[in-house]
């Protein structure tokens, strides 16, 4: 009896993402649905899109996406509709509005800043070389000898 219950548990738990019975017959529409689904977050999961999630809520959202697509929504209309209902939390690709610009520009901005700093460093360095400034390292003779010994090994 206990075993039977366990088997029933196993059969009853929906274990995976997109189910065959959810899929649309039209391959073009289904492809759009999959594409949109991968960009929408499952609200009750840790960090999964509704396309990957096993949760009941994700299934509802997947069905909703397909329903709206069949009714003729464009991708943008559909995403707007979902965001209106669930907030921007569902978007796995954050918008570029307002403070999010910081997020999007941090990488390119730091890269440019870093390039600038590196350039400045190299310029200063070559100028110092031209002036023939000594680059003594403050090592005593014994230390220099020991250093050479280590480096030669």
């Amino acid at each position: 009896m206990r075993r039977l219950v366990l088997i029933l548990c196993l059969l009853a738990t929906p274990l995976w993402a997109v189910e065959p019975d959810e899929m649309l017959a039209d391959p073009a529409l289904e492809a759009r649905a999959r594409d949109i689904s991968t960009g929408l977050r499952c609200l009750v999961c840790r960090n999964e899109s509704i396309d990957e999630s096993h949760a009941e809520l994700a299934r509802d959202l997947r069905l909703l996406v397909r329903e709206r697509l069949v009714e003729g929504d464009s991708n943008a209309e559909l995403v707007d509709y979902v965001v209106e209902r669930y907030g921007e939390y569902v978007l796995l690709r954050p918008t570029t509005s307002g403070a999010n610009l910081v997020l999007w520009l941090a990488g390119p901005g730091m890269a440019l800043l870093g390039l600038g700093l590196a350039f400045g460093y190299l310029r200063r360095q070559s100028r110092r070389k031209d002036e023939g400034e000594s680059t003594s390292d403050g090592l005593s003779d014994a230390e220099s000898a020991r250093l050479r010994e280590i480096m030669e090994d």
């Binding site: 366990l6 960090n47 921007e88 796995l92 954050p94 307002g98 941090a106 480096m151 090994d153």
Partner: protein, 657 residues
């Protein structure tokens, strides 16, 4: 009794770590040799005590001692022995104990093999290393004691999370910790150097093996985690940009930058303060990773309240070590004069570009990971940052890195000529172009991004081969080939690691470009085509495992009428943990994986997912090759740590070569 012994030795190790933090540092400051010399035996003692403590906890797990609260929560008598052992670190408290075990092991190794370090530097390194130990011993003993007993032990335990009962994930944490903790050595060396106020080529040479070791263990650990996600989570993704994954990826990126900049310090005595900064940052990211994984603050903002004590404690550790190190850096970094000067276009210049790209890409991962938290705290916006962001914000840096890498690798030190560096690479460029075009023609009608990255991966691998070949000098082919075998291991390591990076890039690009998927209700005995393969579900039956029950399907895979494989995808149910898992069945191959997942019974058949995943194994194959390159570099003659000891036995006054 043994459990109490483990608890006791842990407390003793805590005491020794406090001793080892204070005495050598004071000794180094005052110049007292006896005090400085106390560091090495203390490091050994600390390691032995922690090892006994770890052994005691392992004993409790193996013998299923359910009077220990941790064993009750994470083990079960029916669990296979392997997972009883790996269960020791399959939880917060036990994994922290493993963390300090590795920390003290590294400290002890620095003591054992650090004979050729100047005594003052050695005392400082061990003192700083021990201060990290003090923090983590304190963390364990005050907030996360693994040795707590239960008043009335239950008959059996709550079982380890079934997802963790898997060889891939069982060994994933130890490798990651070897990496994280290896970076603590680089940190200790950096802080010790700041205390000394001096960084020289020898320092670069000492710090590089630890960084290399840390990086290669991180590579293996991340590879194992990604491989596990691929076959266990049931849809064959290999990287999810999950905060916990990012937590291990950021130190990997920074340590990759560090091990390159340490070369510049060693060979050219330049980029000193930058290298110190990277060493501090690398360990900082390890601590941030620890914080992210253990406090739950990022995955779910509200989980922080569940365990504020632990989160706050790690935050304190992070603030103390980063704050202290940065303060010291601000005070002392100015004193670090660069000796070697170099032109913009040179090996040094190329390594600066490498460092810039790796550091900025780590920053992109970092800001993407914490942005949801910042947005909620400061802008009152609840939002998500998911894979689409990381893919578009991170990939450009990978692209530039891959373009520049083979060119930079061929440049000479000090001053280079781009044209001269490019000339030997012409064949690589031709191959890359051909590879990219071929990839584009096969993937008709898709975006060009996949084929571009495939071309780049050819560029990287061919570039690595050419790099190695140009090291053999001039002359007849036979002579050059024989010289190839006598190249220093570091040269081999460099080429192998760069080629491994190319192979991983190839696997990722090819998999994402050419993957095909089929989802349907399969009826028993009915066959259908997925790509060039004919798939038939022939049977679904019950199957009993040691601590689970399962539904197991039998799927025949054929190609052109010839059988390719018989696969057994499973759906398991672990009764004790009340948790279901999917076990995908994979026919792994050199050029493709056939990946089958069994679903629910529906409409007289079973839901069945079939994926053809081209070149998937190259992702992890490439990671292994990258790690192998690291290992080759590490075994280079000049890093062999015992070299200093051996030298002293040689007679003095050997004539110069």
């Amino acid at each position: 009794m043994i459990v109490e012994l483990g608890h006791f030795t842990l407390i003793l190790a805590f005491a020794v770590s406090i001793f080892q933090m204070v005495v050598p540092l004071v000794g180094a400051q005052k110049g007292w040799p006896e005090w400085m010399a106390a560091a090495a035996p203390a490091a050994t003692a600390q390691f032995l005590l922690t090892a006994v403590s770890f052994g005691a906890l392992t004993f409790a797990f193996v013998t299923s001692d359910f009077s220990v609260a941790l064993v009750t929560a994470n083990s079960h008598t029916l669990k296979p022995l392997l997972y009883k052992i790996t269960g020791v670190w399959g939880n917060h408290e036990g994994s922290l104990l493993l963390w300090v075990l590795i920390l003290t092991l590294f400290g002890a190794m620095a003591a054992w093999f650090g004979g050729n370090l100047p005594p003052r530097l050695r005392a400082r390194v061990l003192g700083v290393q021990s201060s990290i130990g003090v923090a983590f011993f304190g963390f364990i003993l005050f907030t996360s004691n693994p040795f707590l007993r239960l008043e009335s032990p239950p008959m059996n335990g709550g079982d380890l999370n079934p997802l963790l009962q898997d060889p891939g994930l069982a060994f994933h944490p130890p490798f990651l910790y070897l990496g994280y903790v290896g970076l603590s050595m680089a940190f200790s060396f950096a802080v010790a150097a700041l205390m000394e106020g001096r960084v020289d080529a020898a320092w670069g040479r000492w710090v590089r093996p630890w960084t290399l070791a840390a990086w290669l263990f991180l590579t293996i650990g991340i590879g194992l985690g990604s491989w596990w996600a691929y076959y266990e989570l049931g849809w064959g993704g290999f990287w999810f940009w999950d905060p916990v994954e990012n937590a291990s990826f950021m130190p990997w990126l920074i340590s990759a930058a560090l091990l390159h900049s340490a070369i510049v310090v060693e060979k050219r005595e330049a980029l000193k303060s930058w290298t110190i900064l990277l060493a501090i940052l690398a360990f900082g990211f390890s601590l941030i990773g620890t914080f992210i994984v253990r406090s739950g603050v990022i995955t779910s903002v509200h989980a922080f309240a569940n365990d504020p004590e632990r989160g706050v404690f790690i935050l304190f550790i992070l603030a103390f070590f980063m704050g202290g190190a940065f303060l010291l850096f601000a005070l002392r970094a100015g004193a670090m004069e660069a000796k070697g000067v170099f032109a913009l276009v040179s090996r040094e210049g190329a390594l600066i570009v490498n460092n810039l790209l790796l550091a900025v890409s780590a920053l992109v991962v970092f800001i993407g990971t914490i942005w949801p938290l910042l947005a909620e705290m400061f802008f009152d916006r609840t939002l998500s940052v998911g894979p689409p962001f990381f893919n578009s914000a991170f990939s450009p840096f990978v692209f530039v890195l891959a373009v520049v890498l083979p060119i930079g690798a061929l440049m000479p030190w000090k001053r280079a000529n781009i044209g001269r560096a490019l000339r030997p690479l012409l064949p690589a460029f031709g191959l890359a172009l051909a590879g990219g075009l071929l990839a584009y023609s096969v993937a008709s009608g898709q975006s060009a991004i996949g084929p571009i990255f495939i071309g780049l991966s050819v560029w990287l691998v061919a570039g690595a081969v050419i790099d190695l070949y140009t090291r053999t000098g001039r002359g007849a082919l036979a002579g050059r080939l024989s010289r190839l075998t006598r190249l220093p291991r570091a040269d081999w390591g460099k080429a192998v690691a760069h080629a491994g990076f190319g192979l991983t890039l190839f696997g990722v690009a090819a998999l994402t470009t050419y993957e095909s998927e089929d989802i349907r209700i399969a009826h028993i005995g009915e066959s259908y085509a997925v790509g060039p393969y004919a798939i038939t579900l022939t049977d679904v039956r019950e199957h009993d495992g040691p601590n689970y029950i399962a539904l197991m399907g039998t799927v025949e895979v054929e190609r052109d009428g010839r059988p390719v494989a018989t696969l057994h995808p499973e759906r398991r149910f672990y009764p004790v943990a009340a948790m279901p898992t999917t076990e995908a069945a994979i026919d792994g191959g050199f050029t493709r994986d056939v990946y089958v997942v069994l679903g629910e019974a529906q409409q007289g058949g079973f839901a069945l997912r079939t994926y053809i995943k081209p070149w998937a194994n190259w992702i992890w194959g490439g990671s292994i090759i990258m790690a192998l390159g690291g290992a080759l570099s590490l075994s280079d003659r000049r890093y062999r740590v015992a070299a200093g000891a051996r030298r002293q036995a040689e007679p003095k006054g050997v004539p110069a070569e």
